[in-house]
Symmetry: D2
């Protein structure tokens, strides 16, 4: 049998940019509030027994409601500079669509980069998180989707300019 | 912008066949041993906030070391009868490759069915499982891979006749 | 052998009053904040396979920083009215000492009630909580301590007027 | 107010002897079976934010069904040699009563040692364990019970010669 898809998923390196979001929030016991300490990405990849070559860089650790145009400029710039053609970005869900748009305006389907944004509705550290499911999903889609900018949430992918977050149920949906 | 990939992942129904494996094992407190009770698939999909339409059927709940040719015949037959073109099968890792081969001999790349087998090295019920990551991965790959039979483990996919399980580290690798 | 302690712990009913605190906080996914929904006490007792007869009443579900004198008056009053002689109160740690003092001024060592306050530094719902340990501890101490008002945290008990919370490390210590 | 109980629980060192049992079992992913690797006691004490001085020694890591008279002789001997007057022993539940009897024959209520055995019905590593609850309970009872040998399970304590494990529901009950 000849494979019509490559016989295994791409052995090439995948870049992961961490920006924060619910994904990486933790409970800070002395203040009794939610805060960032470190990304959980390496631990999550270990838990998932992921054997893809990945290169992780933490660009920022912020709530996506605090993300400004200059933060987005950093993300766009880092994606541009990345040697890897396949990039996953972890991001807060509140403004994930905005960052996808900033990226979509630059990296289009005629380019050579496949960029997938993902996040979580419940912090990974809180036990009942969707984060591990979303990470497995994002890392899979990024290996097989053609160049372009996508959001991966709820087991689905969405092209950057055809998606919104439904504020009532927290789910992403096609527009 | 015109999408070169579909603008969102397939809205069509995905079939999930449960066959057991480590994925669904639980600790049975009175006997102190590992056993099957029920599949955790619905709970895992809820945790992952999966919003793909799926139809789950439990074909069997067995350790894959106990899987015989007649069990495999049931799986092949159920895949053949399924109305859905995209099928995920949860399966023990020990003989996942054997079942993939039984399926690969029937459903080839010229057909219309994309079949993805996945499993876990640690039971989902035990807290530190790779199951949720693998499920996110399998449900994503099945939406975008062309017809054929695949194994999804460790964040990667493998075509059915180019994969083996490495008994030393428990990882799947291309052959 | 004659038992010098009763041969088993008291078969009598224990009263549990829930007042909120970190113990019962949850992550609210749509708002991205911490909030109360319901007490986790019944689930925790089930997990701990507790076979003491308990009667649970939720008096309030508030952050202990929001607890006022009138809230404390309710707690004191409920303890006074309780038919049970052994009472556990779950409470936020920030003002647990204040509530212990309000109770200690009323229920003293000459009375017939043993009252134990406990709480958690990490919400039970967040997986890595000290709550289950503290609950096991509080339910044990309440069965064997003589009448009086106590705080149980960090595996220890403290009489109500000889304890403070160390704000630097979150631990309770004798004064 | 004069305390009729000591004003805080004993500041003296508590000895913890680890013998194995369900408490410390883990899932071994390559063999797909349950096995011992290391005790989880230090991690559990950290999670419970326990601030009692404890000294932990692992005497053995075995299933209590494999425990022989010579194993029990080791446990009795270690308790005899221990400088501490308060001792917690983690133990499999299947033969916990037998070991309690071996200890009870030596350390009686006229002695100076308070010995508490405890265990778990679900391994601590499996997320939904009763272990942390039981540990909090055992460490509390051991601080306040008079000299003697006890079993602590299900939120209760039992004197060594008045207890049995109910094989039908896994609970300990008074005889």
């Amino acid at each position: 049998m000849g494979c019509t898809a490559p016989c295994t998923s791409a052995p090439e390196m995948i870049r992961i940019f961490v920006t924060g979001g619910t994904f990486d929030k933790e409970y800070h016991d002395l203040s009794g509030s939610l805060a960032f300490k470190d990304t959980h990405l390496p631990e999550m990849l270990r838990l998932g027994r992921c054997r893809i070559d990945v290169s992780i860089a933490t660009l920022m650790l912020i709530d996506s409601l605090d993300m400004t145009d200059s933060h987005r400029a950093v993300i766009v710039d880092q994606c541009r500079q990345a040697a890897e053609e396949r990039i996953v970005i972890t991001h807060g869900t509140d403004t994930m669509v905005d960052t996808a748009r900033a990226l979509g305006a630059v990296f289009d389907a005629d380019g050579d980069k496949t960029i997938v944004l993902t996040g979580a509705m419940i912090p990974y550290a809180f036990g009942s998180s969707d984060g591990l499911f979303n990470l497995g999903s994002a890392l899979s889609f990024v290996q097989v989707l053609p160049p372009g900018v996508y959001i991966t949430m709820n087991g689905r992918y969405f092209v950057w300019d055809r998606v919104r977050k439904n504020r009532d149920n927290g789910a992403f949906e096609a527009t």
